[in-house]
Assembly symmetry: C2
Homo-oligomer: 219 residues x 2
């Protein structure tokens, strides 16, 4: 029974890693589609999101089955409940990558972001891709150094998010109002994507240490 339980717990962890890998791939492709107005790649991200949704549902069913059949307690129970929460965060990250791809598709053949904000968006999207890569690594290795990296990337993304709003108010900003709307939404999607990454990092940190906050190395 105990061996079966350990195998089930491991399989739950593997499923989380698999979803995180797809989310990382989705954001990586969404960034490329967004920056290069690549409508085929955008379509691929949009289509592939269904796979993430399917795997989340499968993971949730597995977790509920594990709760029903094995009645875990203490740390094991918290791990299963955390897996349910993390699968939900990962599924939202997949949705947000899809939203970025949808913006790229909607503005094709134009780019979504005008020249004035493009460099900040490039950094922001790179950080978002790195966040999802770090989430995948964190779930694979449980090395909390990745949680710390995610927290730092999130702080940078929040700064860039605020900066994007300031950019729209600059006298040099001369794009149509609809472009300002797209910029606001894209910035919000990337910011939320990172928030969900932090949420996963906090749950892993809590499971490993009993503390909620990832330690951010002072550098």
């Amino acid at each position: 029974m105990r061996e079966l339980f350990q195998a089930d717990m491991k399989s739950l962890g593997d499923q989380l890693v698999e979803i995180a890998g797809l989310v990382h791939e989705a954001m990586s492709q969404a960034r490329d589609a967004f920056e290069n107005a690549d409508v085929e790649l955008a379509e691929a991200v949009i289509t592939n999101d269904a796979r993430i949704d399917y795997l989340q549902t499968a993971l949730d069913e597995k977790a509920i089955e594990l709760l029903a059949l094995q009645g875990p307690v203490a740390a094991d129970l918290r791990t299963v409940v955390a897996a349910l929460r993390m699968s939900s965060s990962l599924e939202r990250m997949g949705d947000l990558a899809r939203h970025i791809a949808q913006l790229a598709r909607r503005r094709f053949p134009d780019l979504v972001v005008p020249e004035l904000a493009r460099e900040d968006f490039r950094q922001m999207a790179d950080h978002a891709v790195t966040v999802s890569g770090e989430v995948e690594q964190l779930l694979t290795t449980r090395d909390l150094q990745h949680a710390s990296t995610i927290a730092k990337l999130n702080a940078s993304i929040n700064e860039l998010h605020a900066k994007n709003f300031a950019t729209v108010s600059l006298p040099e900003w001369n794009a149509p109002a609809a472009t300002a709307v797209d910029v606001a939404l894209a910035s919000r999607f990337l910011e939320r994507f990172a928030d969900h990454g932090v949420s996963v990092a906090r749950k892993v940190t809590y499971l490993m240490t009993g503390e909620w906050e990832p330690v951010i190395a002072a550098d």
Copy 2:
């Protein structure tokens, strides 16, 4: 043991209703603050959100304790897991009401939305308030008529959300880009608020019927 279990399950349901009541109050006040540039009311919504967050954490702890001590199975287990999910949706709804209040505070003493879009926003915010009232009623009574109402309100909100984006592109739109950004964000917050309401409605519907989709009356 069974009686204790039933009492715990009832208490979990009561806690959800309490949080839903606070979310309804928060969105109702956020709407008023947003439409009247009432900065004190906006501050109240922002401050009171901490209470919703606290109650969500308390509910989650209760649910985990119930899983650990009572090991529910079958329908009871699904109800507890659904309660964890619904508390998470309600907490996000509280955050989104807070975001609406924060926009009102940021633009005070101006109104966030320019005249051209104000009537659509008035309807959208009223619908959002009604969604949260219906969520509270649904959780109180388990009468699926409320789930159907929530689905209909959400469809209207989605239409108004799309209309807001079209409004920003009209030739009559002459507000600064920063206003377009605020309008985009406010519209997105209301749309997401309703999405979370639908998410709660779907979970209650599933628990009551085994089906995922709330039935929308043909009218």
